[in-house]
């Protein structure tokens, strides 16, 4: 198998998180449609959102969006400035560090908040 280096790992993660975000969007629109059917339906959907599975999913969604957004920003920099392209490894690691730090902070607040 061809060795997976930094750039390729970021590309694979970018694809995976991108698909995950689209999957979330479908669930989101579907649940919004359900909610619009009245107060009982609204409450039922909110109850589902309070389950541990959904709350964990929301935290993971934050991770996916953080990585996808930061990596997307890195790619724009890399493709539009020679400066960033020459320093691609440094910027990739910076993306990982930023994504993880923000994920831990944001995830902690999300998980701690009342469901």
């Amino acid at each position: 198998m061809y060795k997976i280096k930094e750039g390729m790992l970021s590309w694979l993660l970018h694809k995976i998180t991108g698909v995950a975000i689209v999957a979330y969007l479908i669930i989101h629109i579907w649940s919004m449609a359900k909610m619009s059917k009245g107060p009982e339906a609204f409450n039922a959907v909110i109850e589902t959102y309070k389950t541990t599975l959904f709350r964990a999913g929301e935290v993971l969604l934050l991770g996916a969006i953080l990585f996808h957004g930061l990596n997307g920003f890195r790619l724009i920099l890399a493709e539009f400035t020679a400066w960033a392209s020459k320093r691609h490894k440094l910027l990739i690691y910076l993306t990982y560090v930023l994504a993880v730090v923000l994920f831990i902070i944001g995830g902690w607040f999300m998980w701690r908040a009342e469901g």
Partner: protein, 232 residues
């Protein structure tokens, strides 16, 4: 030191492939090509692979060595930091025999970008003039030896689309598009700004890593992306 060399074998007559293993006594400063030649001389004369200059100039001996595209003549055994050497043909091309692949798809991509000088209009009365500064813009991309390491390391080419013109063709395009004397940019931009062109590059940097001439290919492709966005 002793190394275990696993070499990909393919016999077109029987259409069977396998890995052959050889245990070789080598010097850490031997190159992978030296070990391959020793295997061919001492163990199995039927192993087929391309080689010519053996000094990183001709680009014949590109192969996948321990999971990375490299020229066998440039990799020292000690640099592999492993006693197991796994050798495969470069990927994404039809294997003709053992480590020899059909390079047609690679050269087809190169031809698309018209990798030759197209005179600008109007041609100067005497010789073309070019400043040192203008020459330096494309200096790096003149170094390509067309070994195919970059294109066959690229997942966009290997996994998704063999019609993708590929990093090597972009390097050639860069060499002529940024040449102040050349006048064929409009023709080349048509090929680059196409569904099989520049935008299939996702800045994965496998090509930059694989290039035996240390051309910063992804940066060159970035230069072309900017140029295309501005000029088309």
């Amino acid at each position: 030191m002793q190394v275990t060399v696993e070499v990909f074998r393919y016999d077109p007559d029987t259409d069977e492939s396998r890995f052959d293993t050889f245990i070789k006594e080598v010097d850490p400063k031997d190159r992978v090509l030296d070990v391959m030649m020793a295997i061919k001389d001492e163990d199995d004369g039927t192993i087929a692979f391309r080689k010519s200059c053996a000094h990183g100039v001709c680009g014949s001996c590109a192969m996948e060595i321990n999971g990375l595209n490299r020229l066998a003549c440039q990799v020292l055994i000690q640099d592999l930091k492993s006693k197991r050497i796994h050798i495969r043909p470069i990927k994404g091309m039809k294997v003709l025999r053992d480590l020899i692949v059909d390079m047609e798809a690679f050269f087809a991509g190169l031809e698309k970008v018209k990798p030759y000088f197209i005179p600008g209009e109007p041609a100067p009365a005497a010789e073309y003039h070019q400043s040192v500064k203008d020459r330096a813009v494309f200096d790096e991309t003149t170094k390509c030896i067309m070994c195919g390491s970059c294109t066959t390391s690229c997942p966009s080419f290997r996994w998704f689309n063999r019609e993708f013109v590929g990093p090597a063709a972009f390097v050639k395009a860069h060499r002529f598009i940024f040449d102040s004397r050349d006048g064929g940019n409009e023709e080349r931009l048509g090929v680059l700004d196409d569904k099989n062109g520049l935008w299939r590059c996702h800045s994965i940097y496998n090509c930059t890593d694989a290039c035996p001439r240390e051309i910063d290919i992804t940066k060159a492709i970035g230069d072309l992306k900017r140029y295309t966005v501005i000029h088309r």
